[in-house]
């Protein structure tokens, strides 16, 4: 017996609590996303169920669960059934070691960051299996897109995480947060934050990287054949992953539950942490409300030509900074230089189309002005003559 019964009971209890807490979080996220998106588009968002539509997610959940769960007859039954569970499992498992505050964690691991990254990769398998198992061509396309996209964006995430670990000299999440008590890492590694955030968006498939389930192209990709409870598992996992990426962004770069100057304890720390996480989520929703979607080849080009080299650059920069023991602002400067380079790279990539576009616009405008001038002249002449 490796662990005692009491320990086992305790672990099961905390897992149960985590499951429920995460479900509540997902409910709140769906509400928040719909409401915020609605407001961005000057709509009302959900209003009918409960005050301000707060009960809408619950209504949705009930509807999803009592909905008929259709399994296509030509699908691989076992894979079709198992895929959502795999996705779900990986989404939940990483939360075992993500701390909400100093003690609000199920099991703090010394190799916490490593564990999180290792487990988050498993989700890809679920998506590919879902796409393949549903015997649908859109599903297959989506699954393959998911594999390509998620595997390539895993690399920048890992490398940036490595650079953060180098800064904190630890893979323990609590330690990483503790190291940010004087200043959050975003100040010394802004480039890392940008790469991590973008790669994170791609990792959870949020706009502008919602390519593997692009509704307007491949109609939901791997999820196209799923309905009812199975679909809701994917849905759950997607939101938990979004929440996880937001939480990791806060933990790695925004100092977790650290409040500048004040030592927060207990619930206050958790609330402060959640506040930050929800802010990041709002930014994600904001981005969703603004941008179109990239194409798969552009996405891959961005991963391998921009994100991967940059993430390696963050590691190199951090290593130089750590090895020579330079002051912190030197790393900030290096990092900012990297950021400028990204901007320039995107600018260069877009320079051709952009100039062409500007030319078109100018031509049309010039003709409009000509016409206006001619009209004004004619009006002048009729007034005079």
């Amino acid at each position: 017996m490796l662990i005692s019964w009491a320990d086992l009971g305790w672990i099961l209890l905390s897992l149960f609590i985590m499951f429920n807490a995460l479900s509540v979080v997902v409910l709140s996220l769906t509400w928040l996303e719909r409401k915020a998106l609605g407001r961005l588009q000057r709509r009302l968002g959900p209003t009918r169920s409960g005050p301000m539509g707060l009960l809408q997610p619950v209504a949705d959940g009930i509807k999803l669960i009592i909905k008929e769960d259709i399994i296509p007859s030509s699908s691989e039954k076992a894979i079709f059934w198992g895929a959502p569970l795999i996705v779900m499992l990986s989404a939940f498992m990483i939360w075992v070691t993500i701390p909400g505050a100093q003690d609000a964690v199920i099991k703090n691991l010394d190799l916490g960051l490593f564990y999180i990254i290792a487990f988050s990769v498993i989700g890809i398998l679920g998506l590919v299996l879902a796409g393949w198992g549903s015997a649908n061509k859109y599903g297959t396309l989506g699954g393959l897109r998911a594999a390509a996209q998620l595997v390539s964006y895993e690399i920048p995430i890992i490398m940036v995480a490595v650079s953060v670990a180098m800064l904190a000299q630890s893979l323990d999440m609590r330690e990483i947060v503790a190291q940010q008590s004087s200043y959050p890492f975003v100040l010394v590694q802004p480039l890392g934050l940008v790469v991590f955030f973008i790669a994170g968006l791609a990792e959870v498939g949020r706009t502008p990287f919602d390519i593997y389930f692009a509704e307007s192209e491949i109609v939901g990709g791997p999820f196209v054949e799923y309905s009812g409870a199975h679909w809701s598992l994917f849905f759950l996992a997607e939101y938990i992953n979004t929440f996880a990426i937001a939480a990791l962004t806060v933990l790695l770069f925004f100092g977790g539950w650290q409040f500048p100057g004040v030592e927060l304890a207990g619930y206050l720390a958790v609330i402060w942490f959640l506040f930050k996480v929800y802010l990041v989520i709002l930014v994600i929703v904001w981005i969703r409300g603004t941008f179109p979607r990239l194409r798969i080849d552009q996405l891959m080009a961005f991963a391998w030509k921009v994100a991967v080299p940059l993430s390696f650059l963050t590691v190199v920069m951090t290593a130089i900074y750590q090895f020579y023991g330079w002051p912190a602002w030197s790393l900030t400067l290096m990092s900012l230089a990297g950021l400028v380079w990204v901007g320039y790279a995107i600018y260069r990539r877009m320079a051709g189309p952009a100039s062409r576009v500007a030319q078109t616009k100018k031509r049309i405008q010039a003709r409009q002005e000509e016409l206006m001038a001619a009209r004004r002249n004619r009006a002048e002449r009729t007034r005079r003559g």
């Binding site: 998106l37 961005l40 588009q41 000057r42 709509r43 061509k137 859109y138 297959t140 396309l141 897109r145 706009t207 502008p208 919602d210 390519i211 692009a214 509704e215 307007s216 192209e217 491949i218 109609v219 969703r288 409300g289 603004t290 941008f291 179109p292 979607r293 990239l294 194409r295 798969i296 080849d297 552009q298 995107i346 990539r349 877009m350 189309p353 952009a354 062409r356 576009v357 030319q359 078109t360 616009k361 031509r363 049309i364 003709r367 409009q368 016409l371 001619a374 009209r375």
Partner: protein, 390 residues
């Protein structure tokens, strides 16, 4: 990429998917059936794509899911009832459709339309053009994956439709134009409402224009996607913005001015490359031109007057003969060929729908692009299936 697409010598498309062969000779991995139930095939259009990974090797379009036999139906309806059928051809640009039909009958009968009625028709048609283009911008954004522009555009469209409802009593299927004029005069508060509406539309248009047109991701998705040269565009019989995007300055309103269009100053914007972005942006610019036409029409329009010709409300029996009338719809050139045998029903009525002719270039445009591009390209053609299948 695009050059390769142009050099494809398209083999004749026989009926059925089985006959169409991949043209490039490469191994074909998968046959992807897109539509008729697909969120971005703009109705019930179906494409069978041969894809090699994500590359489109060949495509066979299938149409006819919305075939209602409109042209045949027209032969069984009296002339004033046909107007309701024309509302339902291009159901996004109803006024424009009604306009071209009533003009055909009027030409056949040699009917003079009161000036005020004609001005009102032009105003309503141009408003409808804006509404149609707003819907295009919205769906273009959605096809490219942006949600918000669609909401912005629908706001503007909603305002226009509210005005339409006040004028004709219906938001889309107006049945408002009559042979020889209009059903009734516009309500008294029409002009003030229109005056109030103009800046609002401009604002909505500008908002979505600023948000979408020059966004880097949007550019990356649309610029240089399936460019069509001017020769190809003419060969395939493209009309409307799809033709003008390739740099051909052809607009029926300018080339063969009908109605009152020779009284207005307006531009025919043309594109440089004929790619998806140009097709998109021309429509944005055309909205501004339409706004300026409406402004001029409001200035010139007689404040009082009859809106229905002396013929009044009677069964029309045009003299035997035939006529072909064309007009510039938001989607391109629409033509109506009408044969009358002197009875109260058309003997034959044939429509040249712009969407249908524009859609014929889909094969040229899609080959050698990506699956993700296919929806964008189809979106940039701006087809309305009601008109394609008739």
């Amino acid at each position: 990429m695009a050059d390769a697409a142009r050099n494809v010598t398209a083999p004749p498309l026989d009926s059925g998917a089985a006959q169409a062969r991949p043209v490039s000779g490469e191994p074909v991995e998968m046959l992807l059936n897109m539509g008729p139930q697909h969120p971005s095939t703009h109705g019930v259009f179906r494409m069978v794509l041969w894809v090699d990974g994500e590359k489109i090797v060949d495509i066979v379009p299938h149409i006819g899911y919305l075939h209602r036999g409109s042209e045949k139906l027209c032969e069984g309806e009296q002339y004033h009832q046909v107007i309701t059928l024309f509302d339902r051809l291009d159901y996004i640009a109803n006024f424009n459709n009604e306009h071209v039909y009533v003009r055909a009958v009027e030409r056949l009968m040699g009917l003079e339309v009161p000036e005020r009625a004609e001005y009102l028709r032009v105003i309503l048609c141009e408003l409808n053009r804006i509404a149609s283009h707003l819907l295009f911008i919205a769906t273009m954004g959605l096809d490219a994956g942006a949600m918000t522009p669609s909401m912005f555009c629908f706001r503007g469209r909603e305002r226009i439709q509210a005005l339409f409802e006040a004028v004709s009593g219906a938001r889309m299927m107006h049945n408002y134009f009559r042979i020889g004029g209009l059903k009734e005069d516009v309500p008294e508060d029409f002009m003030p409402r229109l005056r109030e509406l103009m800046p609002q539309i401009r604002e909505d248009l500008e908002e979505s224009d600023k948000l979408l047109s020059f966004n880097e991701i949007f550019l990356a998705r649309l610029k240089d996607i399936s460019p069509v040269t001017a020769e190809d565009a003419i060969d395939y019989g493209l009309t409307g913005p799809c033709l003008r995007a390739s740099g051909v300055e052809y607009d029926v309103r300018k080339a063969a001015p009908y109605s009152l269009y020779d009284r207005f100053d307006f531009n025919v914007p043309t594109g440089l490359d004929g790619d998806c972005w140009d097709r998109y942006y021309l429509r944005v610019q055309e909205c501004y031109e339409s706004l300026s036409i409406i402004e001029q029409a409001m200035e010139q329009m007689p404040a009082e007057g009859n809106v229905l010709s002396s013929l009044g409300r009677r069964l029309v029996r045009p003299p035997a003969g035939e006529v072909y009338v064309r007009a510039e719809n938001p989607r391109g050139e629409i033509g109506v060929y009408l044969v009358s045998d002197g009875s109260d029903r058309p003997y034959r009525l044939k429509v040249r729908p712009p969407s249908f002719c524009n859609l014929s270039a889909i094969r040229l445009m899609l080959i050698n692009t990506w699956v993700a591009d296919s929806v964008v390209i189809l979106g940039s053609l701006d087809i309305v299936m009601g008109e394609v299948d008739r």
